[in-house]
């Protein structure tokens, strides 16, 4: 049964080969292969989740080489919900892409490859293996961002490639330092070995700095976020939704796993400067990200900067370093993925149907597309943190954790960021619902649409229902938030 864990990576990799191999013969095979992959992936991740709920932690030795010498894959209460999230996001995005495109076989290959990479990041328990999966994720993302036909998309992708590669290389260098000092790459083994080397050994400190900096680049924390707005804004809407939901999430998960599973709280206690720096960086990111979001006129850029701010919250929770805050961080990882993915898809629907992308163009849209507008509003208010939606559950736990740890500054910053979040979403919703449309019959739609060149001019039922499902999902997740916490908590307890 634990084979499901390795199949989560293997199935998408195999699926990514088929559209390219058979693409010459069957023109639109890609979507069907990817959809089949998504369904199998969901079955596998559900199996893994069921096993985790029963037994707490499952482990798989790749190739039969027992850890710590071989590569180990592990699923526990933190990674299992995220693996299910990967499956559901993949299926949602595929349902959307059925009509909206891009339709090329290469796109579906890249999407499957990205699914494999992200599943790998969530499943692996080996620091070098994590590097490989991060790079698979990175490579697939660069290719997906470049799916947009414009040279701007290629430029945004190349910028992302440079910054992402430097980040991953720093991570690799950090792994090198860890390997010199401990001689092992297995995460559980490293935790013991680092303790015996001593937390304040210069090599351990250097490795921590390199690994955390490398991963923060991938998370896109301010000021390492420069690649992110371009990448989100220039890629096709389908791609923006998928990568905003999962790619930074994978890096943030890796950060949680490494800081608490490898360096452990012993390291954080021995070097208290680390948590202070993380909290300070995160606080700046929360406020600056939100402030930059308020200033944007392009809605996709606004959502991108909003991610900078939201991931600041998650990094702040890591810096707070207590159980409550980390529960909040993991819930917010799941919640942010659903909310931000849904919001990007909603913007995609508006772009396809009405050709709007700027905040000002949204005037009066609620009258023309009531259902999707309502879904957008629900997702936006969830992001602000209004109960009962999931955005509230995550933020609430982070704030309570901050207060428990005596970090009042974080609590204040979160409240301020909530107001700023309300400011940037508020002005969109205000225009949608309370401003009369300026001029009707503005039919620039086809020219503005950023999908892969196939001029879709009408949003299909499938596209709309995915957005609505995401909105319903955030509310449902808010209500079952305590169940989710019950799954996450035992895995986090092991760290404290």
């Amino acid at each position: 049964m634990t084979d499901a864990l390795v199949l989560l990576v293997v199935v998408p990799i195999v699926a990514s080969l088929l559209p390219v191999l058979l693409g010459g013969r069957f023109d639109r095979l890609g979507w069907y292969v990817a959809a089949a992959m998504g369904v199998v992936h969901l079955a596998l991740s559900a199996t893994v989740a069921a096993l985790v709920i029963d037994t707490g932690r499952i482990s798989y030795a790749v190739g039969g080489f027992e850890p710590p010498f071989g590569i180990e894959l592990v699923a526990d209460g933190i990674s299992a919900p995220l693996l299910v999230l990967v499956s559901l996001s993949t299926l949602g995005v595929l349902a959307y892409a059925r009509r909206a495109g891009p339709h090329s076989n290469a796109f579906y290959s890249e999407l499957s490859l990205l699914t494999a990479g992200i599943s790998g990041v969530f499943a692996t328990a080996d620091v070098f293996n994590l590097y490989v999966f991060l790079e698979i994720t990175g490579l697939a993302t660069y290719a997906l961002v470049a799916c947009g036909r414009s040279p701007r998309a290629a430029l945004a992708s190349l910028k992302y490639l440079f910054v992402g590669t430097i980040g991953a290389s720093l991570y690799l260098l950090g792994v090198g330092y860890l390997y010199i000092t401990t001689g092992t790459l297995n995460m559980a083994d490293l935790a013991v070995a680092i303790d015996s080397v001593g937390y304040t050994s210069p090599a351990v400190l250097a490795s921590f700095g390199l690994i955390v900096t490398g991963l923060l680049v991938k998370v896109a924390l301010f000021p390492l976020h420069t690649w992110q707005p371009g990448a989100y804004a220039e890629s096709p809407d389908t791609v923006s939704a998928y990568i905003s939901a999962l790619v930074s999430t994978a890096a943030a998960y890796a950060l949680i796993r490494l800081i608490f599973g490898v360096y452990t709280t012993g390291f954080l206690d021995a070097v208290p400067l680390v948590t202070d720096v993380l909290v300070a960086l995160a606080s700046v990111s929360i406020v600056v990200g939100a402030a930059l979001a308020v200033m944007q006129s392009d809605l996709k850029r606004m959502l991108a900067y909003s991610s900078v701010s939201q991931f600041g919250l998650i990094i702040a929770a890591i810096g707070i370093a207590n159980e409550t805050a980390l529960v909040g961080a993991v819930v917010h990882l799941v919640g942010h993925a659903v909310m931000k993915g849904g919001l990007f898809l909603a913007v995609g629907v508006f772009t396809v149907a009405f050709g709007v992308r700027n905040v000002d163009d949204f005037a009066g849209l609620a009258g023309r597309a009531p259902v999707v507008s309502a879904a957008f509003a629900v997702l936006a208010f969830s992001m602000v943190g209004i109960p009962p939606a999931v955005g509230f559950v995550g933020k609430w736990n982070i704030v309570v954790g901050a207060v428990e740890a005596g970090r009042w500054s974080v609590a204040v910053v979160v409240v301020v960021s909530t107001l700023l979040t309300l400011a940037y979403f508020g002005r969109v919703i205000e225009r949608m619902y309370f401003t009369a449309p300026a001029t009707l019959g503005d039919t620039e739609g086809a020219a503005v649409s950023t999908d892969g060149g196939d001029n879709v001019t009408e949003a299909s039922v499938g596209m709309r229902s995915v957005v609505v499902l995401a909105a319903v999902g955030t509310v449902v997740l808010g209500f079952v938030g305590s169940e989710l916490i019950n799954v996450i908590q035992p895995a986090l307890e092991a760290y404290f």
Binding site: L139, A143, L161, S169
Partner: protein, 119 residues
């Protein structure tokens, strides 16, 4: 100091490569040169890993030859993987550069910025 340099020159060179690579990525306006810089940066890491895997007088860990000093092959295997990743990244980067050149007619980043502002 001299002694340290003569025995540890590999490390010095790899740090130099990091610096040169990063400088080229950040300082150069030409996109192809940035790719080259990225490669130099990665080569620095490869050299670092190969160096830490080196054991003076060591042999491959094959039992039965009367040798006692063995070399762990792991760092080298890791770098083999990292080299493959590096090659793929270079390929993707160059493919993107071809598209950028077709779109803008230049590989100079500052010129591209001006073109974008004019749009």
């Amino acid at each position: 100091m001299i002694d340290l340099l003569t025995t540890h020159y590999n490390y010095v060179v790899s740090v130099l490569l990091f610096g040169i690579g990063l400088y080229v990525v950040m300082g150069s306006d030409n996109l192809v040169k940035k790719v080259i810089g990225m490669n130099i940066f990665q080569v620095g890491i490869f050299l670092f890993f190969v160096t830490i895997g080196y054991v003076d007088g060591g042999v491959p860990p094959v039992v039965g030859h009367g040798q006692t000093t063995f070399v762990s092959p792991l760092p080298h295997v890791l770098i083999l993987t990292a080299i493959v990743v590096g090659v793929s990244l270079t390929a993707v980067a160059l493919a993107l550069i071809i598209r950028i050149y077709n779109g803008y007619g230049t590989l100079d980043e500052s010129v591209i910025k001006e073109v974008q502002v004019d749009d």
